[in-house]
Symmetry: C2
Subunit: 381 residues, 2 copies
């Protein structure tokens, strides 16, 4: 008889008492108000737009429709409040339906079921209320970090994650530790920081990707597909004529130090805060994926993000950053600093000759389509 490993499901707390670390449990802004993710995610919509033709093509080429069960099960990891997620789920389910139609197998079109995953603090109420009134799929919400197991074993036929995997499971401990060579004093991100800081971020990203890939490998059926879209940056760019998301984070970081200098909060308060996001360069991303041996890489591409043209100016750009970081900032600095912080940030964006031109944004998207190997093909098993 098969041996089962009982899995103890845990909820994350903001600070793990056992580890003394700041864990990343913050979700995007909920609701549909002026600062909500729902109202400020046109940038991320660009990920869905570039993914559409590729996913359609891959489903028409790669999906083994002869061996599907009666319900095709999809999950979106990092769905937020659903606007972009529902668009992506529509693309996937429609592409599969079309595939059956084209092959003359209309009577065999499966049912669809979508698991929408995001952190426990995500606004699932808004997500559930924004699901399309008539849709091809049944829906469930799955709360909790995608860096761990979230679903029963081998339940998924298709996993998807867009603009989410750059969020780390925690701020690397060493960058907040004033006894460490990687202490990131006076900065809130690795952008413009010392080599040791960057290495801590890279390592954390690699570790988190590994736990993501391992968790999904448990949840996917053998042969199941996984499409990942990860915000990334080129290996180099000319800072005089271009910028990326790391440049933005550097600029954002200077606002904190400016405010500390005016006495709004202490410099120590800034030193004890770092943003848990990492934007890989293509080579790093590729190496991490290749190192994990539970999947075959079916397709990998570097894509531009058309969503940057949806950010009309500095105000939009600041609003986009606010929608994704406000919860985290309030928890550390208090809500009273938010307006001033984003005013300062908007002014800095306005003062820069670069940020008014979306063509100067050299941020990229890494797309990868993976296929879960049959268990026996993994060298680990």
């Amino acid at each position: 008889m098969k041996m089962f490993q009982p899995y103890l499901w845990r909820r994350c707390s903001i600070r793990s008492p056992a580890l003394g670390r700041m864990l990343s449990r913050y979700a995007m802004n909920g609701g549909d108000g002026p600062h909500s993710y729902a109202q400020n995610s046109s940038y991320q919509k660009g990920f869905v737009d570039v993914a559409k033709p590729i996913i359609e093509e891959e489903i028409s080429r790669k999906l083994d429709i002869k061996h599907l069960s009666s319900t095709f099960r999809i999950a979106d990891f990092g769905c937020s409040t659903g606007h972009n997620s529902c668009a992506a789920m529509q693309i996937i389910t429609e592409a599969i339906r079309r595939r059956f139609e084209i092959e003359g197998l209309i009577s065999q079109i499966p049912n669809f079921y979508v698991f929408f995953n995001d952190k426990v603090t995500n606004d699932f109420n808004t997500l559930f209320n924004s699901l399309p009134r008539e849709r091809l799929y049944g829906a469930a919400g799955v709360p909790g970090s995608f860096h761990g197991r979230r679903l029963p074993k081998a339940i998924l036929d298709f996993a998807y994650s867009s603009c989410s995997l750059h969020w780390l499971s925690e701020v690397p401990k060493a960058v907040l530790d004033n006894t460490s060579p990687a202490w990131n004093q006076g900065k809130i991100h690795y952008a413009g920081a010392r080599r040791e800081v960057c290495e801590e971020y890279v390592n954390q990203f690699a570790k988190d990707m590994e736990s993501f890939l391992d968790s999904r490998a448990e949840e996917l059926v053998p042969g199941g597909l996984m499409a990942l879209l990860v915000p990334a940056v080129p290996a180099t760019w000319d800072p005089n004529s271009a910028y990326t998301m790391t440049t933005e984070n550097y600029l954002f970081g200077t606002c904190f130090m400016d405010m500390a200098k005016t006495g709004r909060f202490s410099k120590a308060k800034v030193d004890s805060f770092n943003i848990p996001v990492y934007f890989p360069i293509p080579q790093q991303f590729k190496a991490i994926i290749e190192r994990n041996d539970k999947y075959t890489i079916e397709r990998m591409e570097v894509l531009d993000n058309p969503g940057k043209r949806n950010l009309i100016g500095p105000k939009d750009r600041a609003a986009y950053l606010r929608a994704v970081s406000e919860e985290m900032l309030i928890d550390h600095f208090g809500s009273e600093i938010i307006e001033e912080l984003f005013d300062r940030y908007t002014k800095k964006l306005e003062a820069s000759p670069l940020f008014s031109d979306p063509d100067c944004d050299k941020s990229i998207i890494m797309f990868v389509l993976l296929q879960r190997k049959p268990e026996s093909y993994c060298s680990a098993s």
Copy 2:
């Protein structure tokens, strides 16, 4: 090759334009404030308490632990914001774990996964945030009416529903129709109403139970178990010395007519409103279950609800009714009537010699344990 029936998933709207009916999409009060379900569901906790020894006994006797998959999948239909639901899920998972321990099969204890279902308007955010920090089960929230399909086919090993099935999918159309012999003029419930009104409610309950049982039959694996706890009333009771939930609804209804007389709203406003709940008598409940041929009845019992002793007086009793009906009342009458309505109701409860004594509450609980027949055993297939 197997033929699949694609299933079109729909969200309910409050009023179905096609049917012109008031559909029941209201959930219990969310959050954890003074009027929340979380703070006012000690009555419903009684259902969990009486179910505990029975469920433990049945799991130790009936559950076929030799043929379980690696993840044991449970669903709670009508979970609300989770307080009582988590207690029930704890009971079920612990009982299964103990069963494996007793049989010396500790290494084979399965993983557990729980699907928490309630209406789209349910406060799933509060539910997710109140899940125990460490628990034996993974968790997903499933939004939508349990009168339709909510989960993939044959995904469940165990279905559970407590104190939820008395909520009808809609108010019977005829009771709001002034041309029908079942028009329920001047009343908000079938309690104390004419025979025709009662019949409409009974028929709606039977139809809703049927759609519930049929939907779960799709979602349960053959051999899967389903435990249902439904609030019910005895066939008769002496109104001079006892009361039930229908008596309460009658008394509650008189408050509406009193307010209409004072001009707070029109009598027509009351005539166009009825509460979509039905409390069956044991014989009705048994007959409905028996008529559905997709299950075997493994156990059926009439139980007392110890939760009534958790309602210390009229204020508690009114708060309990408010927590489960406020959303629906606000939608029809507006929020401005709520305080006065429940003040009036509390005073009526206080003025009654019966309602101060929980022993006068003759409301009962119908417990039934069903087992999903193998498909070939159903006469319908």
